[in-house]
Symmetry: C2
Subunit: 533 residues, 2 copies
């Protein structure tokens, strides 16, 4: 199979773009929203339009085979997939690409790259699929480094062992989602961890960033699916035991889960797998009142029913996404199980939804394929396509971005109102006109939801980054002031640092800094992420 | 209410001992097992039999009110509740009691005790209920300390806030189990975390040791019930945000969960609560073949049914515990839920059990009180009484002890055979006659069980500690060599250090040591536990 190339300026592979129909629909939608008759459109950049500074370091001959200074590869590894990344790509701004892109094929080569980097005072940025939306893989770093290596793990892409009895597999960390599932399929097993970035992100990236999957309850983060980890640190290789559960001190895995590449490079993990679901039920419930809908979700979250999906999408977001009839707030509800029918669970969840004023179409919920049809199906499709829309929107000058958090139920209503209001206000202040802010839940817990906010605004060409920074700051300030977390599953990276620094307990920061110093004494790994040495 | 006193030489309060009937039954049982006609019995010690070395340090006057050097208090805080603790107590051996027992009533007083300890180069051993069976609260420590303070947290015993909406409460860490539940009851909420030590252990102790509760699936460890923590460290107070879920870096709480008092003193936590179950089903299933029974448990663990109880007890252990008919291996199976009936879940679980040769009495499973009757009820009662039996057995020279672990399903059969065999052999080698080794599961996961081994042996008076050390070493060596964890929920303490040191990844040890140094630079806290500075 010829290796497909990732876009350096947008989501996904170069041969997968927003369709002409999608482009037309999006342009019409936002033209209508902003009363604009004609878009002044910027085309995406081509690689040969951009000349990069020469690489400052040269790999040793033993590393030559796995290292490249190819222009397009350096472009691909300059940024992640955030809105500011998109703006800078469309502006052809790539002032600080990595000097070298290394693509090791073995763990020994990962070690060799770290050793080489150490010998030439060069920073190393672990790179999975590059889907970070928080500056987590950005090559423009601060500090006295003589160079930057982007360490692409995608050639470590194999499922090495499958344990059918315990339902677990030893998997190399650089494997992309679809290739991982394809290798598990012959064993009739699945990880069933489907973040929005599934096609363009890796197992190691999921573990390093505490990725959130498609399960709305229970196995929300990758954290719980990790049985053991193997991590190359500058101080040696850390390998934890395969254990279904342990009480032997603080969990070693939980230190590396969420470490965002600053403590080591995850090379392998034993992951907990599942059988493919045999029984399914899915439907959507409409609520006239958002907060009543949220209360229904709370009751379902506290019921012990554990729906696989239970995501309420507000009216505005449903409308932007083209889901539902535009009248109600839509709760997408689904159950799945590989062992036994789920219809009694769905019936009870709907009973709860009904008690809070929800209405639904009786016919859909029992249909085995209903998660792919109706409002559920429309949502699923819009969710998977949404990341491609940015390449259209940035080109026409529409800022479209999201941020996400979690909060306990007792504070949710005020929290939601504050964050929505602060974001609406700053958009108006910064852009001079109304934009849009909407909310959905991505994951729910007995003690609170994980609200996910989407917004769009009309930018002024050339001022996009400043405008975005102001909006991001006001929204994040509001969210942190109201008690939320700066991220539920997008991770901290470099973009969230100011708020993460406020959020995390200071003694924990001491401990993390000390752990970093112990494992990465020369601070080679992902400088600027999570903590400063 | 007059404060009840804990026994310094055994389990529980001084007024709660093994009943005369229990004593008679135990003596007859083991006399029969070991063909002994008459026991040479040692009586438990009285406090005034034991004279302790004088306290080496004196609290400052401001701490006088919360500190004591009372003889019995120093005895109570010398040991935990392990078998070697029991042997030393019955031998009247208390060479290294804490110099002072401090009982702070506020967090500020906890800080003051740490400051005082630092000023007089004295170690501090956080003490919850003192139920450690791994030397976790032992006052005999190594190192250049001028004194030892046992820091008893039991006066920090209040539920400070209850959030009925999110179902969570802010709770002081020193509260004992029954007092915690009593304070939640008026709010119709419960933590539902019932370790065997429930009556004599504290919330802070559970968090510090990753305690295992009564739920056999899902919420097995306290870890998942912790919403946020507040910890006094010598480097400052660490307080995490109340969050239902987060992806902001490695979890701060997960560093303190399982830290066994070496990083700080947990003073408060927000804990996730539940409604009291309204629907229950419980029964017991008998298996002629142990490994077939284990396979049934595996299938149930992988079914997504999440029974609240699913513990298989082997024939030998059932017989020692007086559970079942002595013929089969007994699976105690139960479901509970506060929102909806659990009968279809029980029916499906029994269908699985039946497919692996399990048999059960049809009448019991639907009975709402069946978890308190039949084999389930007998098991429950024996489980709660068992810790009191040691005070009888140590007195007559029977070593009764347990150890626990976890292992993935693919390795379980060999693992179990190896550990059982190694323990049986060492008992024969060390004591010159057969003892007994038995196994049950305490918790189960989709990828493996947590096996719990119990053994007894006839000791030689005066040689008990040596004999125990040899048996403990052989059993732990076997368990670690076969891939298990040295502890699933008893924690590491001082007793498990040699095997924990083998088990934990070395780079993680570097990181933990560095974190310890950052938070507790003078190494005041619980020296010798988990790691050496």
């Amino acid at each position: 199979m010829a290796e497909r190339k990732f876009k350096f300026w947008g989501w996904g592979y170069t041969n997968e773009v927003a369709t002409p129909e999608e482009r037309a629909r999006l342009k019409a939608f936002y033209a209508n929203r902003f009363s604009i008759s004609d878009w002044d459109e910027v085309a995406p950049p081509a690689a040969d339009e951009i000349s990069l500074p020469a690489a400052r370091i040269k790999p040793t001959s033993s590393l030559d085979a796995i290292c490249t200074t190819d222009n397009e590869q350096r472009l691909i590894h300059s940024y992640g997939k955030s809105y500011p990344d998109s703006v800078r790509a469309f502006a052809r701004e790539f002032p600080s690409p990595p000097d070298i892109v290394a693509r090791p094929t073995t763990e020994a080569e990962v070690v060799a790259v770290l050793d080489f980097a150490d010998s030439v005072s060069t920073a190393v940025i672990p790179f999975g699929g590059g889907s970070s939306v928080v500056g987590g893989v950005e090559s423009a770093i601060k500090g006295d480094y003589l160079g930057v290596i982007s360490l692409n793990l995608q050639r470590l892409d194999r499922v090495l062992e499958v344990d059918n009895v315990s339902r677990a597999a030893r998997i190399q960390a650089g494997v992309l989602g679809p290739h991982l599932e394809a290798q598990l399929k012959p064993h009739a097993l699945t990880l069933r961890h489907f973040p929005q970035s599934f096609e363009y992100s890796t197992l190691g990236g999921w573990i390093a960033t505490r990725s959130g999957g498609h399960f709305a309850t229970r196995m929300t983060h990758i954290d719980d699916l990790v049985e053991s980890t193997r991590v190359v640190t500058p101080a040696g290789i850390s390998e934890s035991r395969r254990l279904p559960g342990s009480g032997a001190g603080p969990s070693p895995d939980r230190l590396f889960v969420g470490s965002e590449g600053i403590l080591g490079v995850i090379t392998e993990a034993w992951m907990r797998l599942q059988a493919k679901p045999k029984f399914r039920a899915a439907t959507s419930v409409s609520f006239a009142d958002w907060y009543r809908g949220a209360e229904a979700v709370r009751e379902i979250a506290q019921s012990g029913l554990y729906p696989s999906n239970c995501r309420i999408i507000d009216r505005e977001e449903a409308s932007v996404m083209g889901v539902g009839d535009g009248q109600g707030h839509i709760l997408v509800l689904a159950f799945e199980n590989a062992d036994h029918p789920v219809d009694t669970s769905m019936a009870r969840a709907l009973e709860i939804a009904g008690a809070f004023g929800g209405t639904w179409d009786d016919d859909t919920s029992a249909n085995q394929d209903s998660h792919r049809s109706g409002a559920s199906g429309a949502w699923r499709n819009a969710f998977l396509r949404a990341p491609y829309y940015r390449e259209v929107l940035t080109g026409i000058g529409v800022m479209y971005d999201t941020f996400e958090t979690s909060i306990t139920w007792d504070r949710f209503a005020d929290f939601h109102a504050n964050v929505m209001d602060a974001t609406r206000r700053i958009i108006r202040d910064v852009t001079g006109r109304d934009g849009s802010v909407s909310c959905r839940f991505t994951h729910i817990y007995p003690d609170g939801p994980a609200p996910y906010f989407s917004f769009y605004a009309l930018t002024r060409r050339g001022a996009e980054l400043d405008q975005w920074n102001e909006i991001k700051k006001a929204a994040s300030d509001a969210l942190i002031a109201a008690g939320g977390t700066i991220t539920h599953h997008h991770s901290v990276g470099r973009d969230h640092r100011p708020w993460y620094d406020v959020q995390r307990p200071e003694p924990f920061a001491h401990a993390l800094r000390a752990a970093k110093k112990a494992l990465d004494p020369n601070a080679l790994l992902n400088p600027g992420v999570l903590i400063d040495p």
